[in-house]
Symmetry: C2
Subunit: 672 residues, 2 copies
């Protein structure tokens, strides 16, 4: 494209247009004649804006201009425009290139590094804690420069995990407030929503990752490439597993003042046998494996020794789960076949492709509005993607998937799909560290995550020390468990009963503790009368218990999405920043450290900004009140939303480039 | 950069400059006043080119313009220029973006594919050959469209390998001449010279690969993702190993009329024990492994539990071999530390880095000119890279390298370097298929490659059927083996002796057979007299034998470089194209098929275009006659050479982007 633009420009600019001169208003012609060629364009340009000068404005005495030719000029104007635009395009590109080169030339550094100050304690950490492991009281870079040295005295904030939650915290903290340490087994953070695209090479995996060290650098923080395994809350020690140089595993303690658990979740098996034969789509590694398997399948399918039946099996792709991830994966695989496979593999390979989505509910994207599910289903129907709803996966085998459906008369029927690619994208479960932490706390009963209060503090842990966010956590929804404190706070006349005035106080208390209960507590009076069974115009404990229990059940937990994790992370980061700023204020007001959270900020409130999904050269948006769906336009909108959400300008640029590259050269079909 | 440009432009364009108007030549002022704002710039622009209009050219009757102020305008001119440039930059960028979007919107295809014609033979290949394996007489895509069907009748050209040689052939063939089949275990071709850059993330591996299918598509050829294992020359069957859908290996026969062996080579061990502890740098996979190991080393070195000694070992990088690959790898590792590690890891990690190059000769880059070796050595010396020359590697262990040097008095001394990364980049050896082929032919004696004649035909194989190029092959240098034919051809008077006239004939015959002998046969008369030991003014067989033997020994084989492989590939491709074009001519002249090569083209001649190497923000060029070395400028030159050699516009664009990205955001430090 650029090339052609350049060529157009070259020709357009090079061609001199003497014959044009006579068509200029004479009064100005001297100007043009006396100038070098480029300026030849100026009067033309002027014409572009205003074909002939208005008589009234002519300078007195200057002869009238020749009558303008109506048809020709308009055409010429066009020419001039294009010449001008082409010209500036070239110039623009040159300028940019120049700048880039100039900048690049200054990025090569020759300076050498001399002695670096390091504390002996950092080189020889002392041992301690219940298991007598090395404790990282001091870090290698703790005294290497002034900033680091100053941070050494600040409270130690340790963040476990490198996903949406952790990044949310890191990006909202202020440099200099905390001595930050990030614990992650990976060296990078991943932009998970685009993993399906990466899995088929629409975008490159590199465009989805940003090194954690670059993000932490803003806070002069530290990164430990380690895996959290255990927690000693009494001594505020986090036990992590690191790789020792001799490739053996080694455990060490990381001390903390504040700990944020943001380790995410693992996929739940739903007790389905054979999940080891499935692909997941949670990490970069998953995306790479999927990509290789897909290309492998097509390569083997293209071999002359592969039988028809085998070819059909190799090219049948099964997705278990009709949520956004599954749907987008199916859509991306379809795109790959339509736009690239068809060009470079024997056509029969394209013909024999079949894509299946197995969904347990009656609709795909069932968390979205009905209109959206409908739209997506129609699109897939047109594309010949096989949607199997109201079906549950029975078992997954290396060469086939078994699923069951219910017939009208309630009997279950088994079906099987031969396949060489099965993607499992449904449900989440606790990851081992989360399970361990929740097992340490008696009052942690939730099956899938750590229960936290409205301030995202882990329930049962010392207040203000341990927080959990994202998939790893779930905000408590049970009100009944607060019954006694609530009564204490609201039963002003201590008659063990709650009259309406007291009920109003209690409602506010509940809202403060469990903000998510708000919508269910709007109709205060009604509720009061509804549950006042003995109509004594007051609620006794039993009546209250029922009331709170039933309201609690109405509250639905937040979904395990990137959006929730990110908002929780930002909430914590902002709160920590406030805590740091108001440290003195808090001390002055003699606020107990464990009450700091309530003092500086309200409880966490989730604002749903809508959900979106890509469904193959089309996209759908569910923005709560109204929803939006459509073809290419929607797809570009979908891209721009994700584009704007990028963690760094680098990934933003790379993504844009990936999309452009796909457009010009198609997807890269190398098995890499 | 763009952002700032945009901002500059915005302000520059937005700001109206009414105060400027009065400085215009009155004759023109009407024009400006009557136009919308953009045109405000036009008179300013004009001034930019020519500050005041020449008196002589003023329209009669128009009053004289106000005297121009000398200093101010020049400044304004500057302003105007920058405004103009910024403006057009923005415009240019917008135009480009627009074009790209427009183009992109047309790359999404919705059309569905109906029945595809396939020959039954392609679905059920019949068996045959000595091992009774399936024979791919017909391919899946052989009849899917008109072009394919037409090609079916053409001679079957089978190319084994996907490297420089193979690509050289593919890119010089004409579509429609041959039924082309490419056999490669990889799905892509690799731009090997930049592997060292990819190994440290200066460029991305994806930017070095191009899918083979996209290259073959130009010839409507076929790609078999397979590994060549054996050859049946009598029946013209190539035995390849493919992966069957059940992940078991399976062997099939691929029939050929012409076979090109371009499988490259493997690294030679030189009998050094422990090479399994080394990294190689021949494939993308190698580069990825190296990248991960390097990042791993730094991550572990950054752990507080790693002792000083271990840290030094983790950060000591050893390169065995002082050739271009080794040197560039060392230089790139140095760059990584200087430009990126230092920013994001504890400074002590940078300080403890040590890079060692072990070279068996007395200089690194010893195939280059002396000045270049010197320059490179000085550069490394400044950078503190440890060059160990005149040393041979004794053994490689997981945690250290042992090498030996000679003391003055000839004794050998053992030294050891603790290291956690050892790169082996020296010497080549036969890969298994090449070894197998050469074992099939009694007259193949060469240790490291298949011997081919001056036309690149495998010696001993049926003429005009089997060719070998690149690292897999070596052009015969022995003249003595041709003694008898030479005598037959030149001994006109059949007296069993060669007089000077006959000797002259013979020299031409030799040059034709072994073009590389040319330089050694320049002094025809001298040679004749020198070896005519009995001075009877003629050479008898014994004298000839000595002469030819000694000249043969003088000839040095071609180096195993990408340049040689590529030139050989192009030579073959052009020759095959000629053969196809002249098929009728050849038939008319009753040229035996095995004589076709000589008929249509001369022997292969290698033209050395020079060697270059990157040595860390500097580069060296050895262009035979003169050499060129220097800093950044040379580095940019080095880049542009490789840039121009790219196999596709795609990789070209991606490389450029990688270099720009490195300049702006540095290398990606994710372990990926």
């Amino acid at each position: 494209m650029l090339a052609s633009a350049l060529r157009r420009a070259a020709t357009a600019v090079a061609r001199p247009r003497p014959q044009r001169l006579h068509t200029l208003p004479r009064a100005c012609s001297f100007a043009t004649r006396s100038y070098p060629r480029p300026v030849l364009q100026i009067p033309q340009l002027r014409k572009a804006f205003h074909t002939t000068p208005a008589k009234s404005e002519q300078a007195p005495g200057s002869p009238p201009p020749p009558p303008p030719k109506r048809r020709l000029p308009s055409f010429r104007t066009l020419l001039k425009y294009s010449a001008y635009i082409a010209g500036s395009t070239v110039l623009g590109v040159f300028v940019l290139t120049g700048c880039i080169f100039l900048h690049d030339a200054f990025t090569y550094n020759e300076k050498h590094i001399e002695g670096v100050p390091v504390e002996p304690l950092a080189l020889q950490p002392e041992r301690g804690g219940p298991k007598n492991l090395p404790i990282t009281k001091s870090y290698l870079s703790d005294v290497e420069d002034a900033e680091a040295t100053e941070l050494k005295g600040k409270p130690h904030l340790v963040i476990v995990g490198g996903g949406w939650g952790a990044i949310g915290v890191l990006n909202t903290l202020n440099p200099g407030d905390y001595h930050v340490t990030l614990i992650s087994p990976e060296t990078y953070t991943t932009f998970t929503p685009l993993l399906p695209s990466a899995a088929v090479g629409t975008v490159q995996v590199r465009s989805l990752v940003e090194p954690l060290r670059k993000i932490v650098a803003r806070l002069h923080g530290h990164v430990l490439n380690a895996k959290a395994v255990d927690l000693v809350m009494s001594e505020r020690l986090l036990e992590v597993e690191v790789v020792s140089p001799s490739d053996t595993k080694q455990h060490i303690y990381v001390p903390y003042d504040k700990l944020v658990i943001a380790v995410g979740s693992t996929s739940s098996t739903h007790g389905v046998p054979g999940l080891e034969n499935c692909f997941q789509l949670k990490t970069i590694g998953d995306a790479q494996k999927i990509r290789q398997r897909i290309i492998d399948n097509f390569e083997v399918a293209a071999l002359p020794t592969t039988s028809q039946e085998e070819r059909k099996r190799l090219l049948s792709f099964v997705v278990c789960g009709g949520g956004p991830t599954g749907i987008e994966a199916a859509a991306e695989i379809y795109d790959l076949c339509q736009e690239d496979i068809i060009k470079y593999y024997p056509k029969i390979c394209r013909k024999d492709v079949s894509i299946h989505v197995i969904q347990s509910r009656s609709h795909i994207l069932n968390t979205y509005s009905e209109a959206i599910s409908k739209y997506a289903e129609d699109k897939f129907d047109r594309d010949g993607v096989d949607l199997i709803t109201n079906a549950r996966v029975g078992s997954v085998h290396p060469d086939k998937v078994i699923y069951t459906t219910r017939t009208k008369d309630g009997k279950t029927e088994d079906h099987e799909i031969p396949a060489n690619f099965v993607l499992w994208s449904t449900g989440i479960a606790m990851n081992p560290f989360v399970a361990r932490v929740s097992s340490l706390l008696p009052n942690q009963v939730h099956k899938k995550a750590i229960e936290v209060d409205a301030h995202l503090r882990v329930k049962g842990a010392p207040l203000g020390e341990v927080y959990a966010i994202g998939d790893a956590s779930t905000i408590e929804t049970s009100i009944i468990s607060h019954l006694l404190e609530l009564v204490d706070e609201s039963d002003k006349n201590n008659d063990g009963k709650i009259d309406f005035e007291e009920w109003q106080i209690m409602v506010n208390q509940i809202k403060k503790r469990i903000p998510m209960s708000e919508e269910h507590l709007s109709r205060v009076r009604e509720l009061f009368e509804l549950y006042d069974s003995d109509a004594d115009n007051s609620l006794n404990l039993n009546e209250l218990a029922v009331l709170l229990q039933e309201i609690g059940n109405k509250i639905t937990a937040l979904p395990a999405t990137a959006q929730v994790a990110s908002q929780q992370g930002k909430y914590l980061g902002k709160k920590f920043a406030k805590l740091a700023r108001q440290r003195r204020v808090l001390a002055a007001n003699e606020v107990a450290p464990d009450a700091g959270d309530e003092f500086v900020s309200g409880p966490f409130r989730y604002r749903h900004l809508g959900s979106l999904a890509y469904i193959g050269n089309a996209a759908v948006f569910d923005l709560g009140k109204y929803s939006f769906m459509g073809g290419l336009a929607a797809m570009y909108a979908w891209r721009s939303v994700y584009w704007s959400e990028q963690v760094s300008s680098r990934t933003r640029a790379l993504l844009m480039i990936d999309w452009i590259v796909r457009g010009i050269w198609g997807r890269d079909l190398s098995r890499l």
